[in-house]
Amino acid sequence: MSSQHWDVLIVGAGPAGMAAAAAASQGGHRVAVLDENPAAGGQIWRRGWNDDEHKPDAARQAQTGKFVASGATLFHGRRVVAALAQGVLETWNDAENVGERFAYDKLILATGARERFLPFPGWTLPGVFGAGGLQALVRNGYDVRGKRVAVAGTGPLLMAIAAHLQEDGAKVLSICEQAPLSQLVSFATALLKRPGKILQGLSLRSSLRGVAYRTGSWPVAAYGAGQLEKVEFTDGKRRWEVDCDLLACGFHLVPNIELPALLGCALEDGCVRVDALQRTSVEHVFCAGEPTGVAGVDAALLQGEAAGLMAIGLTAQAQKLSARVASERGFGAAMEKAFRLRTEVLQMAAKDTIVCRCEDVCYGDLKALADGQNTWTDAKLQKRCGMGPCQGRVCGPAVEALFGWKNASVRPPIFPLPISALSSEPQLRTDSNSAALQEIQ
C-alpha cells in the first residue's frame, strides 16, 4: 500500500477545504486535499470542474482560482475509511480498488454535512428523492426536463435547489417549507444585516417566479403504484394533493462527524467542538465548515481559511478572522432556530413506515422501544436499526430527531469496503471474480 507524507492534510474539498488549502499552501508548505468525489467543489460548487455554463458565481470562481493557484494537491475519488496509527489516514479508491495511506503533521477536517430525511408514508417510493440528492443526480446528467417536481422539507437549501431544478428545465410546482412564517420573518430580519446574502436570495427568487412558497406546510404522504404519482400536503388545518413526477424532500442538514469522532475529537450537540481558532480537542487536528455547525458557505470559507492559517502557525492572521467567524456562526445559529423542526413533522410516519432503509426497520418497531430507558444501542441490537451498509448515516439523524437516541459508536471502516482492503495485500479484483460474484448477489 502506497504511503506519503504531507505537512497539512485536508479531508474534504468543499468551500471550507478549498479555502483551507489555499491558506495553508503559503510559504511552500506541502498540502494535500482528499475528497471522495471525482472533482473538487463540495456540495454546492461541484458541477464538473470549472463548468460555468449556468451562471457565473463570483465567489466560486474566486475560490476555485485561489485553490488551483495554491499548488495544493487534490486527491479525488479517495474515501477516508480509517485512522491508523497517530497521524495516518487510510483511504480507499473505489474506481481503482486501491488503498492508500496519507501521513500528516497537521490535519484539517472539512467533511461537510448531509441531508436529514424524516420518514413519512411513501417516502421510499421511487420518484421521492432527497432534495440535495436530486440536485446531485441532475449534475451527473439525470434529465429533469419537463418533469413536474414538488419540493418539500425545511431549510434554505430548498429554495436554492428548486431554483436549480427550474433552470435545468424541471417544472417546479411548489415548495412546502415546514417552518412557520413567523419564525422565518425573524430570520429574514437577521438577513437584512447582510446585503450579500439578500442578493443571493433575490437571484434565487427570480428563477422561482410563479412557484408557490408555502410556509408552515409539510408532506402527509406520497402515493403511487410502484412510482410516485402524487403527494399530499397539509398546513395542519387543510390538506391538498399535488400531482407530480418527482418529490425533492430534505429536512435541513446534519454535520458529518463520523471521521472527527473516529479520531477522538470531542463533540457538542452533534457538532465537532472547536475553539475560536478552529482547534479541536485533539492536538494537530482542526475542523472547519459544517461539521462545527451548519452555517452556510460564507462561514465555511472563513473557517477554512482560519484553519489553514492555524495549521501552518500563522496564529495572528487567523485571529484577525475570529470576529467574522463568530458573526457567521451567529448566522448559523439564527438559521437553526428559524428552521427548527415542528413537532408535527416528527409525527408524520405511520406504524409501517420504514425508517431504516438498509434493514427495513419500521417506525412502529422503534416506537415500541421508546420507553425512556432504551437507547440507540438497544434499537440497533434488538431491531437492526442502523446496522446495514450505511451504518446509520441515513436513519441516524431521523432516529435522533424522532426518539432522541444518538448513534453511540463509530467504527472503521466508516464506509463499506471490499474485504481485500482489510487484508495485508489490498489489490485489484480480477474480472472473472467480480462477474461470478454478480450471480451471487
Binding site: P412, L417, I419, L422, S423, L437, I440
Partner: protein, 354 residues
Amino acid sequence: MECARAGLRVGVVEPRVPGGAASAAGMGHVVVMDDSPAQLALSRYGRELWQKMRAALPDSVEYEQRGTLWVAADGEEMQEVYAKQATYTSIGVSSQVLDEKALAQAEPELRKGLAGGLLVPEDAVVYPPAAARYFLDEAIALGAKLIRGVRPVEAAKGIVRLQDGSALSAGSIVIATGVDTSLVPWITVQPRKGHLVITDRYPGFVHHQLVELGYLKSAHKLTADSVAFNVQPRQTGQLLIGSSRQYGDAEHDVDNKILKQMIDRACEYMPRIRDLSAIRVWTGFRAATPNKLPLIGPTPDPTVFLAMGFEGLGITNSPAAARLLADHLLQRESAIDRDPFLPAHVFRGESAHA
C-alpha cells in the same frame, strides 16, 4: 429466566444495555466443544437446552440449525477429524466425516485441495443480543424487576450497593458481569480480545458455520495472540468473519495488525471472500479464567454466587449455566457434574483442567 421460572423473586441490575456487552460482540455459534471433558459436558448440555427452547424462541433470536463444519486442511488434521468424531460419539453427539469431494460439495467457496472435514449437523447459530433480551423479557413477564441505568458498586452479605447510594437486599446475589470483576475483585478473569467483521448480504455464499481445525491448536494457547478461519452465515445472508484472540489489550480499538492476519487467514481458506463488501469491524472481550472453565456456583460469602468467565462459549453455555446455577440456589440435583465449575477451584488457586 431460570430463577424466575423456578418461582424465585428476581431483580436484574443492568448499568448499561441488556445484551450489550460481550453478548453483542460475539458470534453466537452454539457448538459442542471438546477441549476438556467438563467443557464437553457443559456445551453438550447447553446445546440440548437450546434445542428444547427452540420452538419458544422469537424470530428475533434467529435460531438456525446450520451445523458446524470443522475444516481439515491436510492429512494431519484429518486424523483429528476421526479423533473428534470418536469423542463426540462417546457422548451421543452425531457427526459425519466429509472427504475432499464431499467438503467441496458442501461448501463450494472453500479453496480446492483441503483434506476434508467433520460436520456436526445439530450445532446452531443464534443472534445473542436478542437471545439475552428474550431471557430477560421472559423473566420480567414472570414478575422479575429490571433496574437499569445504575451501576452496582458492592455486592456482599445479601446487600447490593448502587452507585447512586441506594441499596438492594436479596437472599442470593448472582454476579454475571461478564469480563467485569469489579464486584468480585478476588477473581481472576482476563479479557481476551476478539475481532469480527460483518459483510453485506450474500445469501448462499456459505452454508454452515465453518471453523478450521487448526482452531483448537490456536485457541487454547494461554498466552500468544492467534487468528483462525471462522466464518458464519447469518440469517440475513451476511457473513460474520472471525476470529482473533489476544491477551493484554484492553482497548476497544481495532488492532490493524491482527485484523489483517485474520482476514488473510479467511482469504486463504475462502479466496473470494476478498471481493465481498465489509460493512463494520468491531471488537469484543471474552472473559477468560485461569482453568479455561466458567465459574458457576457459590462463593465463601453464602449470599454471593457467580456465573461468569465464559470465554468464547458463553452463548452456547448460557442455558446450561443458568440451570446449574438455579440448581445451586434451590439445592436441586443437576443433570451434569457441576463440580468442575465451582468457584472454589480458583479460590484455592487450583487449575483443575489445565
